[in-house]
């Protein structure tokens, strides 16, 4: 009899703790989630860029989600150089075809994957980009070749709205 009562009491305790924990969690979550990107930040998630004035061998930098995006119209030599690289030589193996849908246009986040600096255009040992902060070298396809960065520079979602306009995001 008394044993049975104890079990009922245990169940009540456990149930109370469980409901209490859910309540505390539900109260804390808004305090944590308020720090995530808000609606006004998310609303700026895509941007359209006119690239008609960009000649081969030129890069323009546009701001998307507060980050620089490099849009480079590559020369034939750069494309050939990027395609000639063997995947075995890459720290983060990616084919150039997978990074530039239209080989003439390379659209990528101008953010070093090490600690987020903006790499410099046409610098470094591989004719691509060089990050001045901690010395990462990227090739003409924006792939990491030397230095502490772990991965290639990121390709954002983008598409050609028409032949002169790229929509990023």
């Amino acid at each position: 009899m008394s044993e049975k009562k104890t079990k009922r009491r245990d169940f009540l305790f456990t149930a109370t703790y469980a409901v209490g924990a859910v309540g505390v969690g539900a109260t804390i979550w808004p305090m944590i989630d308020q720090m995530n990107p808000d609606a006004s930040v998310k609303a700026l998630a895509s941007t359209e860029v006119d690239v008609s004035s960009v000649n081969p061998g030129k890069t323009i930098t546009v701001l998307w989600r507060g980050k620089p995006v490099f849009i480079r119209r590559r020369t034939q030599e750069e494309i050939a150089e990027a395609k000639a690289v063997s995947l075995k030589d890459l720290k983060h193996p990616e084919k150039d075809e997978d990074r530039a849908k239209d080989p003439e246009w390379l659209v990528m986040l101008g953010v070093c994957t090490h600690l987020g600096c903006v790499p410099l255009d046409q610098k470094g040992d591989y004719n691509g980009w060089f990050c001045p902060c901690h010395g990462s070298h990227y090739d003409t396809s924006g792939r990491i070749r030397k230095g502490p960065a772990p991965t290639n520079m990121e390709i954002p979602e983008y598409k050609f709205v028409n032949s002169n306009t790229i929509k990023i995001g």
């Binding site: 720090m35 995530n36 990107p37 808000d38 701001l63 980050k67 600690l115 600096c117 010395g135």
Partner: protein
């Protein structure tokens, strides 16, 4: 420490003290028995309290004029410098005050390392101190972001990106810290809030730090326990108060030199250029007091391992009371440890120097050797040394070597002076 019962003299004092024993606390702090052989390296606790209060008071004033908004922060700092009455003075005290705070805390930490102040029974004081040190670094970093100059922006970008090294959840944490997809206005406003909060957390921990200190009492240059309080100690007031006050005055001369003669020498010129998310400055360096850890971060070629090495370099200090196996506290009686101590000091200074240099060639090699040695000191040398080292005889009491004692001990005391 003082066991005697305190009774206020006045009737009102007694009435009040029975209800809230503030007078008992004041009496304890006044009479607190302090080892009479403390040297000037022991004055930095008081100096650090001064630094904390200076930062809180000047910070409160600056917050009355500063605007935490990405479009206005930079201009509001210039407004403080040019328009606000004595704004230049208050800002320069606050900015240089951070450096003075770290200068004092490094001396305070290295004093503990020399005299073994972290050892039993003072481990909790030590660990609270390490937490304070971590919070100081957080506060300094957050505060450096607020002027919204180029170094502010890119320093914030680099440091927050350290979290992206965490597998799986790293990117999510960084976005959460930023409140967006890059360092921007939401980041600035939350950094301002946290920068305002942390000094008060530090203040609370300082109270615990001193409370924990007052349980066993101060360590001292010979590193032995107090035998007879009546012979080995002096009351905190007036002896230590006046000595701390004199040391503080000397410290304030150095402080004032920086504020009035070279207020920008410890900063970076790039931070007088407004933040620009499209251009990274050619050479990003943290403030001088973070350079040794920055050198450790850069000396590891892998991103995640670099971050782990840097954090371990700080957290390893918390384990120090257990890594140092020697029963003798003071380096005065540890001839080998004393040498390794100075090698460690040199090692940290070298790390600081290469942290300010580009991470390539010879600098990178030196940084790697110095990083390796830093960990070897704590993980290999200290544990082994406790068993292998032949220590010198320790005096029987604090008073003994002062009053002559054996010639051997008198020699040890002179050596001690030479080393400092």
């Amino acid at each position: 420490m003082s066991d005697h019962e305190y009774t206020p003299k006045s009737k009102f004092g007694k009435w009040f003290n029975d209800r809230l024993p503030l007078l008992t606390l004041a009496s304890h702090l006044t009479d607190y028995p302090t080892p009479k052989n403390l040297n000037y390296w022991w004055t930095f606790g008081g100096i650090l309290t001064f630094c904390l209060l200076t930062q809180i008071i000047t910070g409160l004033v600056l917050a009355m004029h500063y605007i935490a908004h990405a479009d206005m922060a930079f201009d509001s700092v210039e407004h403080i410098m040019r328009d606000v009455n004595y704004g230049w003075l208050i800002r320069y005290i606050h900015a240089n005050g951070a450096s003075m705070f770290f200068l004092a805390v490094y001396i305070h930490i290295f004093r503990s390392l020399f005299y073994g102040s972290y050892k039993s029974p003072r481990e909790v004081i030590w660990i609270i101190g390490i937490i304070i040190y971590l919070l100081m670094m957080a506060a300094a970093f957050l505060g450096y972001v607020l002027p919204w100059g180029q170094m502010s922006f890119w320093g914030a970008t680099v440091i927050t990106n350290l979290f992206s090294a965490i597998p799986l959840v790293g990117e999510g944490i960084v976005t959460w810290l930023w409140g967006g997809y890059s360092v921007d206005n939401p980041t600035l406003t939350r950094f301002f809030t946290l920068h305002y909060l942390i000094p008060f957390l530090i203040l609370g921990l300082v109270v615990l730090h001193i409370w924990a200190l007052h349980v066993p009492g101060n360590n001292n240059p010979v590193g032995i326990d107090i035998q007879k309080p009546s012979k080995d100690t002096v009351p905190f007031h007036p002896y230590i108060v006046i000595k701390d006050g004199f040391a503080l005055l000397m410290f304030m001369i150095v402080f004032a030199f920086f504020v009035f003669y070279t207020p920008n020498i410890l900063g970076h010129a790039d931070n007088y250029i407004e933040a620009n998310p499209l251009v990274t400055p050619a050479h990003i360096v943290p403030e001088w007091y973070l350079l040794p850890f920055y050198a450790i971060l850069r000396s590891v070629p892998d991103k995640l391992l670099g971050v782990i090495a840097m954090l371990s370099a700080i957290l390893i200090l918390a384990a120090l009371p257990w890594l140092d196996t020697s029963k003798i506290r003071s380096a005065v009686f540890r001839p080998l440890y004393r040498q390794f101590y100075w090698i460690l000091v040199a090692d940290v200074l070298i790390l600081g120097y290469v942290g300010a240099m580009p991470a390539e060639g010879l600098y990178l090699l030196i940084a790697r050797v110095a990083t390796a040695y830093y960990f070897i000191h704590f993980l290999v040398i200290l544990p082994i040394l406790g068993f292998k080292e032949k220590t010198l005889p320790v005096p029987l009491s604090i008073t003994e070597p002062v009053l002559g004692g054996s010639p051997n001990l008198a020699g040890a005391r002179i050596k001690n002076k030479e080393n400092l």
